[in-house]
Amino acid sequence: MAMKLTKEQKEILDGKKGDTLARVMKTLVMYGETFGATKMVKVTSKYNHLVTSFGLKALGPVYDLMNKLLEAGAKSGQQFSVDPRPLDKNVPANFLQKLIFKKFMYSKQDFYEKQLEALGLMNKDAFTCTAYMDEVGNKPKQGDVLSWSESSAVVYANSVLGARCNRNSGIMDLMGSVVGFVPYFGLLTDKGRKATWIIKVKTTKKPEAQLLGSAIGMKVMEEVPYVVGLDKWLGKKLDDKTCSYLKNFGAATASNGAVGLYHIDKLTPEAKELGKDLICKNAKEYVIDDEELERVKKDYPVVWKNINAKPKLCFVGCPHLSLQELLDWTNKLEQNLKANGRKKVLIPTVFTTPPAVLKVFEKLSEGQKLKSFGVIVSSICPLMYMNNPLCGKMPVITSSNKLRTYTTARYYTDDEILEKLTKGGKA
């Protein structure tokens, strides 16, 4: 079905504002028509968010395309945040790794950051995958239409904030912002936000967010799940702890599957408003109990050469940690180190958080305490850090299911990580 365009949109498509903008509009129209969109709608959020934050040499074609946009004056109509930087000198790396990072892999980083600034980057600290956190300031309102990418941010914005956004790809995210419109389909529509799966959580304890999300993502793929039984463990209020849980849960659904929206019964905005009316007739059902979570965890491949290797690095925070999570981890580490008669963590450890959260945390007593435990707090992207052959051979552990999915990092639950950091022993 052909899309009905406004006069303004049609003029752009017909080239009245130049060939580059015409191509941008053509891309968006074809994208929409593939999914049966009949119109374009205005992007209404204050800021955009882009997934491509890294000046990776291999992504040359992307930077060429960005250049084409800049040369044609096709800047983003909104300022934007962007995913985390791939480099941080404070994160442990040997000489060879540093050489490979700087000279080979991310040699385009400075160049690309200049492109981002020219296109409309919010500020030099706007590098995080959790831009919706209060400290960062890119928090869409319920009902806002977005042109965002970054799978974990899209699923959070849709599910926890009630904004409306498709799982846009990198580049497509920017194009929506350049013309100010996105095609109306999928998760932008009421129909597309209905659940086609009912997930029944029947665990005997609060399920690990990263495992529960992984199980659901692998089962429902890109469909919309409506989760019942989780409010028993999370309560009915979206406070900082619950939002942090849902951030980690959502990231796992999106990276282990392709979930762009979930509803949690009695908790997330649309589920509170519409309840089970959000569930489609004939929705499929998936029951998750303790055994099912254990089965999912056991099925993760371990690709370390020596599966008994002693971990050389631990990453916590993919997606970036909230202030609440940093405080909780500091307290847990303090208690466990004390109980084990230790002062520092046993494995080199990096916690990641947005630059704006890091600034707040460093000023708190907990910030100094965590530093004294030997933990590095950084705003790096762990995924991009590990994205090279040298790190691939390193035994790295993480409690992030997203990081496990994209790298050779080995997954452990938060409690298991805590034990390894404070009690030691082989992985």
């Binding site: 191509r23 053509k26 891309t27 074809m30 994208y31 593939t34 999914f35 997934v51 491509t52 990776l56 040499k57 291999a58 992504l59 040359g60 074609p61 992307v62 395309l65 084409k68 892999m105 990418s149 970054e150 799978s151 899209v154 498709n166 799982r167 846009n168 790809s169 990198g170 580049i171 497509m172 995210d173 999928g186 993502g217 793929m221 890109e222 999106a254 990276s255 282990n256 599957g257 392709a258 993760y300 491949p301 690709v303 994205n387 090279n388 052959p389 999915t405 994209y406 050779t408």
Partner: protein, 153 residues
């Protein structure tokens, strides 16, 4: 030979050897190493994809239900096309997902000389039938012919 009919997402015709992923293809995890380290065969690097891990994707008829994972997926596919390491065609049993669609469309609109036909909605029967090493012919109008090994001389 068995014939299947789907919907054309990006047009074109080709003949190529099939590689099959029965689960969702994680585009970033599958292509990232190949793009970064000059692997012209685009060997699949996704440890979680038991069907495809370690297999060549460039120049093959990639048969799959959909793509999953990071929203870099579309730009990764676009880069694979720009670097001439793309599959010969993408054949989806399900309706195409937003990331694969973005990558295919971006390549079609912004790159010259790219022939990577994309057909979706081929149905579960297609994915159940097709096996690694079979020969695939993508014809006009969304028609896909699947030949047993050795059947097409």
């Amino acid at each position: 030979m068995k014939t299947f009919k789907g919907r054309i997402v990006t047009p074109g015709t080709t003949t190529a050897e099939a590689v099959v992923s029965h689960g969702g293809l994680n585009t970033l995890a599958s292509f990232q190493k190949a793009l970064q380290f000059g692997d012209k065969k685009a060997t699949c690097g996704d440890q979680n994809n038991k069907d495809l891990f370690g297999k060549q994707m460039a120049g093959r008829a990639l048969c799959l239900p959909q793509t999953i994972g990071s929203t870099t997926g579309g730009l990764v596919l676009y880069c694979a096309c720009a670097m001439k390491r793309q599959p010969a065609c993408l054949l989806f049993s399900n309706p195409i997902d937003s990331l694969a669609a973005a990558g295919s469309i971006l390549a079609g609109v912004w790159l010259d000389d790219i022939n990577m036909p994309v057909v979706d909605n081929l149905g579960q029967e297609f994915l159940d039938y097709v096996k690694d090493g079979m020969t695939i012919k993508v014809l006009d109008k969304g028609v896909v012919e699947v030949y047993d090994k050795g059947e097409l001389k």
